[in-house]
Protein backbone atom coordinates (compact mmCIF):
# COMPACT_ATOMS: atom_id res chain seq x y z
CA UNK A 1 0.00 0.00 0.00
CA UNK A 2 1.31 3.42 -0.95
CA UNK A 3 1.22 5.61 2.17
CA UNK A 4 3.87 8.08 1.05
CA UNK A 5 3.01 9.45 -2.37
CA UNK A 6 3.95 12.26 -4.72
CA UNK A 7 4.04 14.94 -2.04
CA UNK A 8 6.73 13.08 -0.14
CA UNK A 9 9.02 12.55 -3.10
CA UNK A 10 8.57 16.16 -4.18
CA UNK A 11 9.57 17.19 -0.67
CA UNK A 12 12.64 14.94 -0.56
CA UNK A 13 13.70 16.37 -3.92
CA UNK A 14 13.22 20.02 -2.88
CA UNK A 15 14.88 19.61 0.53
CA UNK A 16 17.77 17.78 -1.15
CA UNK A 17 18.29 20.59 -3.66
CA UNK A 18 18.11 23.29 -0.97
CA UNK A 19 20.68 21.54 1.22
CA UNK A 20 22.79 20.38 -1.72
CA UNK A 21 23.01 23.85 -3.27
CA UNK A 22 24.04 25.42 0.05
CA UNK A 23 26.62 22.70 0.65
CA UNK A 24 28.13 23.10 -2.84
CA UNK A 25 28.16 26.89 -2.69
CA UNK A 26 29.65 27.04 0.80
CA UNK A 27 32.39 24.53 0.03
CA UNK A 28 33.21 26.28 -3.25
CA UNK A 29 33.33 29.62 -1.44
CA UNK A 30 35.49 28.34 1.45
CA UNK A 31 37.99 26.49 -0.72
CA UNK A 32 38.52 29.64 -2.75
CA UNK A 33 39.07 31.66 0.42
CA UNK A 34 35.76 33.48 0.19
CA UNK A 35 36.01 33.98 -3.55
CA UNK A 36 32.47 32.89 -4.37
CA UNK A 37 30.29 35.00 -2.09
CA UNK A 38 27.63 35.61 -4.73
CA UNK A 39 27.28 31.85 -5.21
CA UNK A 40 26.54 31.38 -1.51
CA UNK A 41 23.91 34.11 -1.68
CA UNK A 42 22.28 32.53 -4.72
CA UNK A 43 22.21 29.16 -2.92
CA UNK A 44 20.55 30.71 0.13
CA UNK A 45 18.00 32.74 -1.84
CA UNK A 46 16.99 29.77 -4.02
CA UNK A 47 17.20 27.25 -1.17
CA UNK A 48 14.84 29.08 1.19
CA UNK A 49 11.77 28.96 -1.11
CA UNK A 50 12.48 25.33 -1.94
CA UNK A 51 12.74 24.38 1.73
CA UNK A 52 9.64 26.42 2.65
CA UNK A 53 7.58 24.87 -0.17
CA UNK A 54 8.85 21.45 0.89
CA UNK A 55 7.81 21.99 4.49
CA UNK A 56 4.36 23.26 3.45
CA UNK A 57 3.92 20.19 1.23
CA UNK A 58 4.85 17.95 4.15
CA UNK A 59 2.35 19.62 6.46
CA UNK A 60 -0.41 19.32 3.85
CA UNK A 61 0.46 15.62 3.46
CA UNK A 62 -0.16 14.90 7.15
CA UNK A 63 -3.40 13.12 8.01
CA UNK A 64 -3.98 15.83 10.62
CA UNK A 65 -2.19 18.94 9.24
CA UNK A 66 -3.31 21.22 12.09
CA UNK A 67 -1.51 18.99 14.57
CA UNK A 68 1.89 19.58 12.89
CA UNK A 69 3.03 21.41 16.04
CA UNK A 70 3.07 18.10 17.92
CA UNK A 71 6.38 17.56 16.08
CA UNK A 72 7.93 20.39 18.08
CA UNK A 73 7.03 18.79 21.41
CA UNK A 74 9.65 16.06 20.92
CA UNK A 75 13.40 15.91 20.40
CA UNK A 76 13.82 12.26 19.59
CA UNK A 77 17.30 11.33 18.39
CA UNK A 78 16.25 7.81 17.35
CA UNK A 79 13.43 9.09 15.13
CA UNK A 80 14.79 10.47 11.84
CA UNK A 81 11.55 12.37 11.26
CA UNK A 82 11.89 14.13 14.61
CA UNK A 83 15.53 14.96 13.82
CA UNK A 84 14.49 16.12 10.34
CA UNK A 85 11.97 18.51 11.86
CA UNK A 86 14.65 20.22 13.93
CA UNK A 87 17.26 20.13 11.16
CA UNK A 88 14.87 21.85 8.74
CA UNK A 89 13.85 24.40 11.34
CA UNK A 90 17.49 25.12 12.16
CA UNK A 91 18.46 25.37 8.49
CA UNK A 92 15.63 27.81 7.75
CA UNK A 93 16.31 30.02 10.79
CA UNK A 94 20.02 30.28 9.95
CA UNK A 95 19.31 30.89 6.26
CA UNK A 96 16.83 33.66 7.08
CA UNK A 97 19.34 35.23 9.48
CA UNK A 98 21.92 35.27 6.70
CA UNK A 99 19.44 36.91 4.30
CA UNK A 100 18.66 39.61 6.85
CA UNK A 101 22.36 40.17 7.60
CA UNK A 102 23.12 40.48 3.88
CA UNK A 103 20.29 42.97 3.48
CA UNK A 104 21.74 45.22 6.18
CA UNK A 105 25.36 44.71 5.17
CA UNK A 106 25.35 47.53 2.57
CA UNK A 107 23.05 49.78 4.57
CA UNK A 108 25.01 50.23 7.80
CA UNK A 109 28.27 51.84 8.84
CA UNK A 110 31.50 49.99 8.04
CA UNK A 111 32.12 48.83 11.64
CA UNK A 112 28.69 47.24 11.92
CA UNK A 113 29.00 45.81 8.43
CA UNK A 114 32.23 44.09 9.43
CA UNK A 115 30.50 42.53 12.42
CA UNK A 116 27.64 41.47 10.17
CA UNK A 117 30.08 39.84 7.78
CA UNK A 118 31.58 37.94 10.73
CA UNK A 119 28.09 36.80 11.71
CA UNK A 120 27.37 35.69 8.14
CA UNK A 121 30.61 33.72 8.06
CA UNK A 122 29.74 31.97 11.31
CA UNK A 123 26.17 31.29 10.21
CA UNK A 124 27.50 29.79 6.98
CA UNK A 125 29.48 27.18 8.91
CA UNK A 126 26.42 26.30 10.98
CA UNK A 127 24.29 25.90 7.89
CA UNK A 128 26.97 23.78 6.25
CA UNK A 129 26.44 21.34 9.13
CA UNK A 130 22.65 21.67 8.85
CA UNK A 131 22.87 21.18 5.07
CA UNK A 132 24.86 17.96 5.41
CA UNK A 133 22.42 16.69 8.04
CA UNK A 134 19.45 17.80 5.91
CA UNK A 135 20.51 15.97 2.76
CA UNK A 136 21.57 12.90 4.75
CA UNK A 137 18.23 12.91 6.55
CA UNK A 138 16.24 12.74 3.29
CA UNK A 139 17.81 9.29 2.79
CA UNK A 140 17.90 8.22 6.45
CA UNK A 141 14.16 8.92 6.75
CA UNK A 142 13.48 6.12 4.27
CA UNK A 143 16.37 3.88 5.31
CA UNK A 144 15.25 3.67 8.95
CA UNK A 145 12.20 1.56 8.16
CA UNK A 146 11.19 -2.02 7.49
CA UNK A 147 10.87 -1.59 3.71
CA UNK A 148 13.55 -3.77 2.18
CA UNK A 149 14.37 -1.46 -0.76
CA UNK A 150 15.16 1.34 1.69
CA UNK A 151 16.53 -0.55 4.68
CA UNK A 152 18.24 -3.47 2.92
CA UNK A 153 21.55 -1.58 2.60
CA UNK A 154 23.14 1.44 4.25
CA UNK A 155 23.73 3.05 0.85
CA UNK A 156 20.39 4.80 0.34
CA UNK A 157 21.47 7.89 2.34
CA UNK A 158 24.71 7.92 0.32
CA UNK A 159 22.72 7.79 -2.92
CA UNK A 160 20.39 10.59 -1.83
CA UNK A 161 23.30 12.75 -0.61
CA UNK A 162 25.13 12.37 -3.93
CA UNK A 163 21.93 13.17 -5.80
CA UNK A 164 21.15 16.13 -3.52
CA UNK A 165 24.58 17.66 -4.15
CA UNK A 166 24.36 16.94 -7.88
CA UNK A 167 20.91 18.58 -8.15
CA UNK A 168 22.07 21.38 -5.84
CA UNK A 169 24.98 22.17 -8.16
CA UNK A 170 22.58 22.10 -11.12
CA UNK A 171 20.35 24.65 -9.35
CA UNK A 172 23.42 26.85 -8.73
CA UNK A 173 24.46 26.67 -12.39
CA UNK A 174 21.01 27.70 -13.62
CA UNK A 175 20.63 30.39 -10.94
CA UNK A 176 24.08 31.79 -11.75
CA UNK A 177 23.38 31.93 -15.48
CA UNK A 178 20.06 33.70 -14.85
CA UNK A 179 21.68 36.12 -12.38
CA UNK A 180 24.44 36.91 -14.87
CA UNK A 181 21.91 37.44 -17.64
CA UNK A 182 19.87 39.81 -15.48
CA UNK A 183 22.86 41.87 -14.42
CA UNK A 184 24.10 42.10 -18.01
CA UNK A 185 20.60 42.66 -19.36
CA UNK A 186 18.69 45.86 -19.96
CA UNK A 187 15.88 45.31 -17.46
CA UNK A 188 16.96 48.15 -15.18
CA UNK A 189 13.80 48.03 -13.06
CA UNK A 190 14.21 44.32 -12.41
CA UNK A 191 17.82 44.84 -11.39
CA UNK A 192 16.81 47.67 -9.07
CA UNK A 193 13.98 45.64 -7.57
CA UNK A 194 16.29 42.69 -6.87
CA UNK A 195 18.94 44.93 -5.38
CA UNK A 196 16.35 46.57 -3.12
CA UNK A 197 14.87 43.26 -2.08
CA UNK A 198 18.12 41.49 -1.28
CA UNK A 199 20.33 44.47 -0.54
CA UNK A 200 23.02 43.58 -3.04
CA UNK A 201 24.51 45.24 -6.03
CA UNK A 202 26.72 42.41 -7.16
CA UNK A 203 25.07 39.36 -8.58
CA UNK A 204 27.48 38.06 -11.09
CA UNK A 205 29.15 34.70 -10.84
CA UNK A 206 32.34 34.47 -12.92
CA UNK A 207 31.92 32.29 -16.00
CA UNK A 208 34.94 30.28 -14.89
CA UNK A 209 33.11 29.39 -11.67
CA UNK A 210 30.00 28.31 -13.59
CA UNK A 211 32.10 26.08 -15.83
CA UNK A 212 33.87 24.61 -12.82
CA UNK A 213 30.53 23.88 -11.15
CA UNK A 214 29.48 21.91 -14.21
CA UNK A 215 32.76 19.98 -14.02
CA UNK A 216 32.21 19.34 -10.31
CA UNK A 217 28.73 18.03 -11.09
CA UNK A 218 30.21 15.55 -13.57
CA UNK A 219 32.42 14.12 -10.81
CA UNK A 220 29.52 14.03 -8.33
CA UNK A 221 27.51 12.14 -10.96
CA UNK A 222 30.32 9.56 -11.20
CA UNK A 223 30.18 9.18 -7.41
CA UNK A 224 26.38 8.85 -7.58
CA UNK A 225 26.63 6.24 -10.32
CA UNK A 226 29.13 4.23 -8.28
CA UNK A 227 26.87 4.41 -5.21
CA UNK A 228 23.85 3.33 -7.30
CA UNK A 229 25.75 0.29 -8.61
CA UNK A 230 26.90 -0.59 -5.09
CA UNK A 231 23.35 -0.15 -3.81
CA UNK A 232 21.97 -2.52 -6.45
CA UNK A 233 24.64 -5.17 -5.85
CA UNK A 234 24.15 -4.96 -2.08
CA UNK A 235 20.37 -5.38 -2.43
CA UNK A 236 20.89 -8.38 -4.71
CA UNK A 237 23.00 -10.18 -2.11
CA UNK A 238 21.06 -8.81 0.89
CA UNK A 239 19.57 -11.37 3.25
CA UNK A 240 16.66 -9.07 4.06
CA UNK A 241 13.42 -10.64 2.88
CA UNK A 242 12.08 -9.06 -0.31
CA UNK A 243 15.18 -6.96 -1.07
CA UNK A 244 15.88 -8.63 -4.40
CA UNK A 245 12.24 -8.44 -5.49
CA UNK A 246 12.04 -4.77 -4.55
CA UNK A 247 15.12 -4.04 -6.66
CA UNK A 248 13.52 -6.03 -9.49
CA UNK A 249 10.62 -3.55 -9.53
CA UNK A 250 13.16 -0.91 -10.58
CA UNK A 251 15.35 -2.88 -12.95
CA UNK A 252 12.84 -5.11 -14.76
CA UNK A 253 9.44 -4.56 -13.13
CA UNK A 254 6.67 -1.99 -13.08
CA UNK A 255 9.03 0.98 -12.59
CA UNK A 256 11.74 -0.12 -15.02
CA UNK A 257 10.94 2.57 -17.62
CA UNK A 258 11.18 5.57 -15.26
CA UNK A 259 14.22 4.00 -13.58
CA UNK A 260 16.30 3.41 -16.72
CA UNK A 261 15.15 6.48 -18.64
CA UNK A 262 14.57 8.90 -15.76
CA UNK A 263 17.35 7.93 -13.37
CA UNK A 264 20.10 6.17 -15.31
CA UNK A 265 19.90 8.23 -18.50
CA UNK A 266 18.34 11.57 -17.43
CA UNK A 267 19.98 12.00 -14.01
CA UNK A 268 23.30 10.30 -14.69
CA UNK A 269 24.50 9.33 -18.17
CA UNK A 270 23.11 12.20 -20.28
CA UNK A 271 24.38 15.04 -18.06
CA UNK A 272 27.68 13.21 -17.54
CA UNK A 273 28.19 12.94 -21.31
CA UNK A 274 27.28 16.61 -21.83
CA UNK A 275 29.57 17.79 -19.02
CA UNK A 276 32.49 15.70 -20.23
CA UNK A 277 31.99 16.84 -23.84
CA UNK A 278 32.18 20.46 -22.68
CA UNK A 279 34.92 20.01 -20.06
CA UNK A 280 37.30 22.97 -20.10
CA UNK A 281 35.52 24.70 -22.94
CA UNK A 282 34.70 28.39 -22.83
CA UNK A 283 31.25 28.96 -21.46
CA UNK A 284 31.04 32.25 -23.40
CA UNK A 285 30.21 30.15 -26.46
CA UNK A 286 26.45 29.79 -26.85
CA UNK A 287 26.63 26.05 -27.65
CA UNK A 288 28.69 25.30 -24.53
CA UNK A 289 26.40 27.36 -22.32
CA UNK A 290 23.37 25.64 -23.82
CA UNK A 291 24.90 22.20 -23.21
CA UNK A 292 25.67 23.02 -19.56
CA UNK A 293 22.16 24.34 -18.98
CA UNK A 294 20.67 21.23 -20.64
CA UNK A 295 22.86 19.03 -18.47
CA UNK A 296 21.74 20.87 -15.30
CA UNK A 297 18.07 20.59 -16.29
CA UNK A 298 18.49 16.83 -16.86
CA UNK A 299 20.12 16.46 -13.42
CA UNK A 300 17.29 18.33 -11.68
CA UNK A 301 14.49 16.40 -13.42
CA UNK A 302 16.34 13.11 -13.03
CA UNK A 303 16.75 13.79 -9.31
CA UNK A 304 12.97 14.03 -9.03
CA UNK A 305 12.50 10.73 -10.87
CA UNK A 306 15.07 9.07 -8.56
CA UNK A 307 13.11 10.12 -5.44
CA UNK A 308 9.83 9.09 -7.08
CA UNK A 309 10.85 5.57 -8.09
CA UNK A 310 12.62 4.80 -4.81
CA UNK A 311 9.70 6.07 -2.71
CA UNK A 312 7.13 4.21 -4.84
CA UNK A 313 9.01 0.92 -5.28
CA UNK A 314 9.81 0.75 -1.58
CA UNK A 315 6.13 0.52 -0.74
CA UNK A 316 5.02 -1.80 -3.53
Amino acid sequence: MITWGAILWLYLWLAGMAGGAFFAAFVADRFTGGGNKSLLRLATYTGIPMAVIGVLLLVIDLGQPLRFWHLFTQFKVISPMSMGTWILLGWLIVAFTMVIAWWFENRVAEGTARRLRGLIGFMGWINLVFSVLLIAYTGVLLAVSSQSLWAGTVLLPALFVASAISTGIAVLVIAAVIANAISKGSLVELKLAINQLFGSTDWTVPNRTVARLAEADAIVIVVELAVLIGYAIWLTISTMAGAGEALGLLTTGALAAPFWVGVVVLALLAPLALDIANWGKEIEKKAVLRAILTSSTCVILGGLVLRAVIVMAGQM
Binding site: F31, S146, A151, V154, A158
Partner: protein
Protein backbone atom coordinates in the same frame (compact mmCIF):
# COMPACT_ATOMS: atom_id res chain seq x y z
CA UNK B 1 2.54 -6.19 35.19
CA UNK B 2 3.20 -7.03 31.57
CA UNK B 3 0.25 -8.74 29.98
CA UNK B 4 0.07 -10.70 26.74
CA UNK B 5 -2.08 -12.72 24.37
CA UNK B 6 -1.17 -16.32 23.56
CA UNK B 7 -2.28 -17.65 20.17
CA UNK B 8 -2.07 -21.40 19.71
CA UNK B 9 -2.12 -22.06 15.98
CA UNK B 10 -2.73 -25.77 16.59
CA UNK B 11 -6.04 -24.99 18.25
CA UNK B 12 -7.20 -22.41 15.70
CA UNK B 13 -9.89 -23.60 13.26
CA UNK B 14 -10.04 -20.30 11.37
CA UNK B 15 -13.67 -19.57 12.23
CA UNK B 16 -12.73 -15.87 12.20
CA UNK B 17 -14.95 -15.09 15.16
CA UNK B 18 -12.03 -12.96 16.44
CA UNK B 19 -12.26 -10.82 13.29
CA UNK B 20 -15.98 -10.26 13.84
CA UNK B 21 -15.62 -9.58 17.56
CA UNK B 22 -12.87 -7.02 16.88
CA UNK B 23 -15.01 -5.23 14.30
CA UNK B 24 -18.02 -5.21 16.63
CA UNK B 25 -16.29 -4.04 19.78
CA UNK B 26 -14.24 -1.39 18.02
CA UNK B 27 -17.11 -0.34 15.74
CA UNK B 28 -15.07 -0.91 12.59
CA UNK B 29 -17.02 -0.98 9.33
CA UNK B 30 -17.05 -4.01 7.04
CA UNK B 31 -15.09 -3.82 3.80
CA UNK B 32 -16.19 -4.69 0.27
CA UNK B 33 -13.97 -7.47 -1.01
CA UNK B 34 -14.09 -9.89 -3.94
CA UNK B 35 -13.71 -13.64 -3.98
CA UNK B 36 -10.06 -14.51 -4.50
CA UNK B 37 -10.56 -18.26 -4.34
CA UNK B 38 -9.80 -18.51 -0.63
CA UNK B 39 -11.73 -18.32 2.61
CA UNK B 40 -9.16 -15.79 3.79
CA UNK B 41 -10.95 -12.47 3.88
CA UNK B 42 -10.41 -9.53 3.90
CA UNK B 43 -7.14 -9.86 1.99
CA UNK B 44 -5.08 -7.69 4.33
CA UNK B 45 -5.13 -5.63 7.48
CA UNK B 46 -6.49 -2.13 6.93
CA UNK B 47 -7.51 0.91 8.97
CA UNK B 48 -10.80 -0.94 9.51
CA UNK B 49 -9.44 -4.47 9.96
CA UNK B 50 -7.16 -4.84 12.96
CA UNK B 51 -7.08 -8.63 13.11
CA UNK B 52 -7.46 -11.31 10.49
CA UNK B 53 -6.76 -14.99 10.15
CA UNK B 54 -4.35 -15.92 7.40
CA UNK B 55 -4.94 -19.17 5.49
CA UNK B 56 -1.74 -20.72 4.19
CA UNK B 57 -2.17 -23.68 1.84
CA UNK B 58 0.67 -26.22 1.77
CA UNK B 59 1.03 -29.69 0.32
CA UNK B 60 1.80 -32.37 2.91
CA UNK B 61 2.21 -35.99 1.81
CA UNK B 62 0.28 -35.32 -1.38
CA UNK B 63 -2.63 -33.74 0.45
CA UNK B 64 -3.70 -30.15 1.00
CA UNK B 65 -2.89 -28.88 4.45
CA UNK B 66 -4.02 -25.60 5.94
CA UNK B 67 -1.87 -23.54 8.24
CA UNK B 68 -3.80 -20.83 10.06
CA UNK B 69 -2.22 -17.84 11.67
CA UNK B 70 -3.26 -14.66 13.33
CA UNK B 71 -2.33 -11.35 11.71
CA UNK B 72 -2.55 -8.33 14.02
CA UNK B 73 -0.31 -6.06 16.03
CA UNK B 74 2.40 -8.10 17.75
CA UNK B 75 2.80 -5.53 20.55
CA UNK B 76 6.62 -5.69 20.41
CA UNK B 77 8.73 -4.70 23.40
CA UNK B 78 11.23 -3.10 20.98
CA UNK B 79 8.47 -1.51 18.91
CA UNK B 80 9.79 0.13 15.74
CA UNK B 81 6.59 2.17 15.39
CA UNK B 82 7.03 3.74 18.83
CA UNK B 83 10.74 4.35 18.22
CA UNK B 84 10.29 6.26 14.95
CA UNK B 85 7.07 8.09 15.90
CA UNK B 86 8.11 11.78 15.77
CA UNK B 87 5.39 13.04 18.12
CA UNK B 88 5.55 10.44 20.88
CA UNK B 89 1.99 9.37 20.08
CA UNK B 90 2.89 5.68 20.38
CA UNK B 91 3.60 4.26 23.81
CA UNK B 92 3.47 1.04 25.84
CA UNK B 93 0.75 0.34 28.36
CA UNK B 94 0.89 -2.93 30.33
CA UNK B 95 3.25 -4.14 27.58
CA UNK B 96 0.82 -3.35 24.78
CA UNK B 97 1.59 -0.78 22.09
CA UNK B 98 -1.01 1.98 21.86
CA UNK B 99 -1.35 4.78 19.27
CA UNK B 100 -2.85 7.84 20.98
CA UNK B 101 -5.41 8.85 18.39
CA UNK B 102 -5.71 12.43 19.63
CA UNK B 103 -1.94 12.97 19.37
CA UNK B 104 -1.16 11.13 16.10
CA UNK B 105 -0.53 13.54 13.21
CA UNK B 106 -0.89 10.92 10.49
CA UNK B 107 2.66 11.19 9.13
CA UNK B 108 2.72 7.49 8.26
CA UNK B 109 6.18 6.75 9.65
CA UNK B 110 4.98 3.89 11.91
CA UNK B 111 3.47 2.28 8.81
CA UNK B 112 6.85 2.25 7.05
CA UNK B 113 8.72 1.12 10.17
CA UNK B 114 6.59 -1.83 11.36
CA UNK B 115 8.34 -5.14 10.52
CA UNK B 116 4.91 -6.82 10.38
CA UNK B 117 3.16 -4.15 8.23
CA UNK B 118 0.43 -3.68 10.82
CA UNK B 119 -0.56 0.00 11.18
CA UNK B 120 -2.63 1.53 8.38
CA UNK B 121 -3.64 5.12 7.78
CA UNK B 122 -7.33 5.96 8.07
CA UNK B 123 -7.86 8.51 5.31
CA UNK B 124 -11.00 9.93 6.97
CA UNK B 125 -9.64 10.27 10.51
CA UNK B 126 -6.18 11.08 9.20
CA UNK B 127 -4.42 8.93 11.79
CA UNK B 128 -2.64 5.57 11.90
CA UNK B 129 -4.79 2.79 13.34
CA UNK B 130 -4.25 -0.74 14.57
CA UNK B 131 -5.15 -3.16 17.37
CA UNK B 132 -5.45 -1.34 20.71
CA UNK B 133 -5.36 -4.59 22.71
CA UNK B 134 -8.91 -3.49 23.67
CA UNK B 135 -7.45 -1.07 26.17
CA UNK B 136 -10.97 0.12 26.98
CA UNK B 137 -12.10 -3.42 27.85
CA UNK B 138 -8.92 -4.18 29.77
CA UNK B 139 -9.20 -1.05 31.89
CA UNK B 140 -12.57 -2.39 32.98
CA UNK B 141 -11.10 -5.75 33.90
CA UNK B 142 -12.26 -7.54 30.73
CA UNK B 143 -10.10 -9.50 28.33
CA UNK B 144 -9.68 -8.35 24.68
CA UNK B 145 -12.72 -9.01 22.45
CA UNK B 146 -10.88 -11.49 20.20
CA UNK B 147 -9.82 -13.57 23.20
CA UNK B 148 -13.27 -13.41 24.78
CA UNK B 149 -14.99 -14.73 21.66
CA UNK B 150 -12.52 -17.48 20.64
CA UNK B 151 -14.53 -20.72 20.85
CA UNK B 152 -11.61 -23.17 20.77
CA UNK B 153 -9.31 -21.65 23.35
CA UNK B 154 -6.73 -20.81 20.70
CA UNK B 155 -6.51 -17.32 22.23
CA UNK B 156 -5.77 -16.73 25.88
CA UNK B 157 -4.98 -13.55 27.76
CA UNK B 158 -3.01 -13.03 30.94
CA UNK B 159 0.33 -12.36 32.58
CA UNK B 160 3.08 -12.60 29.99
CA UNK B 161 5.47 -14.67 32.13
CA UNK B 162 2.75 -17.25 32.78
CA UNK B 163 1.79 -17.37 29.10
CA UNK B 164 5.44 -17.79 28.05
CA UNK B 165 5.73 -20.77 30.43
CA UNK B 166 2.49 -22.20 29.05
CA UNK B 167 3.63 -21.66 25.47
CA UNK B 168 6.99 -23.36 26.10
CA UNK B 169 5.23 -26.38 27.63
CA UNK B 170 2.93 -26.55 24.63
CA UNK B 171 5.88 -26.42 22.20
CA UNK B 172 7.65 -29.21 24.12
CA UNK B 173 4.48 -31.31 23.93
CA UNK B 174 4.24 -30.68 20.17
CA UNK B 175 7.86 -31.69 19.69
CA UNK B 176 7.21 -34.89 21.66
CA UNK B 177 4.33 -35.58 19.27
CA UNK B 178 6.72 -35.39 16.33
CA UNK B 179 6.40 -31.73 15.30
CA UNK B 180 10.13 -31.18 15.33
CA UNK B 181 9.90 -27.60 14.01
CA UNK B 182 7.44 -26.50 16.70
CA UNK B 183 8.33 -23.03 17.95
CA UNK B 184 7.16 -20.36 20.38
CA UNK B 185 7.26 -17.16 18.33
CA UNK B 186 7.52 -13.97 20.35
CA UNK B 187 9.44 -15.42 23.27
CA UNK B 188 12.66 -13.64 22.23
CA UNK B 189 11.80 -11.73 19.03
CA UNK B 190 12.13 -7.92 19.21
CA UNK B 191 12.75 -7.90 22.93
CA UNK B 192 9.73 -10.18 23.43
CA UNK B 193 6.37 -9.83 21.76
CA UNK B 194 3.19 -9.38 23.73
CA UNK B 195 1.39 -11.66 21.34
CA UNK B 196 2.93 -15.14 21.58
CA UNK B 197 2.48 -17.77 18.89
CA UNK B 198 2.54 -21.52 19.46
CA UNK B 199 3.45 -22.89 16.02
CA UNK B 200 3.73 -26.53 14.94
CA UNK B 201 6.10 -25.54 12.14
CA UNK B 202 8.81 -22.93 11.54
CA UNK B 203 7.86 -19.22 11.59
CA UNK B 204 8.76 -19.06 7.88
CA UNK B 205 6.12 -21.71 7.11
CA UNK B 206 3.59 -19.43 8.79
CA UNK B 207 4.80 -16.40 6.84
CA UNK B 208 6.39 -14.80 9.91
CA UNK B 209 9.82 -13.13 9.63
CA UNK B 210 12.48 -15.48 11.05
CA UNK B 211 14.56 -12.79 12.68
CA UNK B 212 12.67 -9.50 12.61
CA UNK B 213 14.79 -6.39 13.10
CA UNK B 214 13.82 -3.07 14.62
CA UNK B 215 13.71 -0.33 11.99
CA UNK B 216 16.31 1.72 13.84
CA UNK B 217 18.83 -1.16 14.07
CA UNK B 218 21.19 0.34 11.45
CA UNK B 219 20.51 4.02 12.23
CA UNK B 220 24.11 4.97 13.00
CA UNK B 221 25.34 3.35 9.79
CA UNK B 222 22.60 5.05 7.77
CA UNK B 223 23.48 8.52 9.12
CA UNK B 224 27.19 7.90 8.64
CA UNK B 225 26.67 6.72 5.07
CA UNK B 226 25.01 10.02 4.19
CA UNK B 227 27.43 12.25 6.10
CA UNK B 228 30.55 10.48 4.82
CA UNK B 229 29.32 10.76 1.24
CA UNK B 230 29.01 14.51 1.69
CA UNK B 231 32.59 14.50 2.98
CA UNK B 232 33.84 12.52 0.00
CA UNK B 233 32.09 14.86 -2.42
CA UNK B 234 33.52 17.89 -0.64
CA UNK B 235 36.96 16.38 -0.91
CA UNK B 236 36.94 15.02 -4.43
CA UNK B 237 35.39 17.44 -6.91
CA UNK B 238 35.35 20.58 -4.79
CA UNK B 239 38.79 20.35 -3.24
CA UNK B 240 40.27 19.40 -6.59
CA UNK B 241 38.51 22.06 -8.62
CA UNK B 242 37.98 24.99 -6.27
CA UNK B 243 40.81 25.11 -3.79
CA UNK B 244 42.53 28.43 -3.72
CA UNK B 245 45.94 27.20 -4.85
CA UNK B 246 44.41 25.74 -7.97
CA UNK B 247 42.47 28.94 -8.63
CA UNK B 248 45.61 31.08 -8.22
CA UNK B 249 47.53 28.80 -10.57
CA UNK B 250 44.73 29.09 -13.09
CA UNK B 251 44.75 32.85 -12.78
CA UNK B 252 48.53 33.05 -13.20
CA UNK B 253 48.31 30.79 -16.20
CA UNK B 254 45.65 32.94 -17.80
CA UNK B 255 47.74 36.03 -17.07
CA UNK B 256 50.72 34.46 -18.78
CA UNK B 257 48.60 33.49 -21.71
CA UNK B 258 47.23 36.99 -21.78
CA UNK B 259 50.78 38.33 -21.82
CA UNK B 260 51.76 36.18 -24.78
CA UNK B 261 48.72 37.25 -26.64
Amino acid sequence: MAEAILYDATKCMACRACQVACKQWNELPAEMTTNRGTYENPPDLSPHTWIKIKFIEVEKEGKLDWLFTRQACMHCTDASCAQVCPTGAISHQDGFVIIAQEWCIGCGYCIQACPFHVPHKDEVLGTARKCTSCIDRRSGGLEPACVKTCPTGALTFGDRNELVAEGRDRVEALKAEGYSNAYLYGDEELGGLHVLYVLDDSPAAYGLPESPQVAISASVGQWLSGILTAGVVAAVPFWLLFRRKKQIEAEQKSEVEGGVR
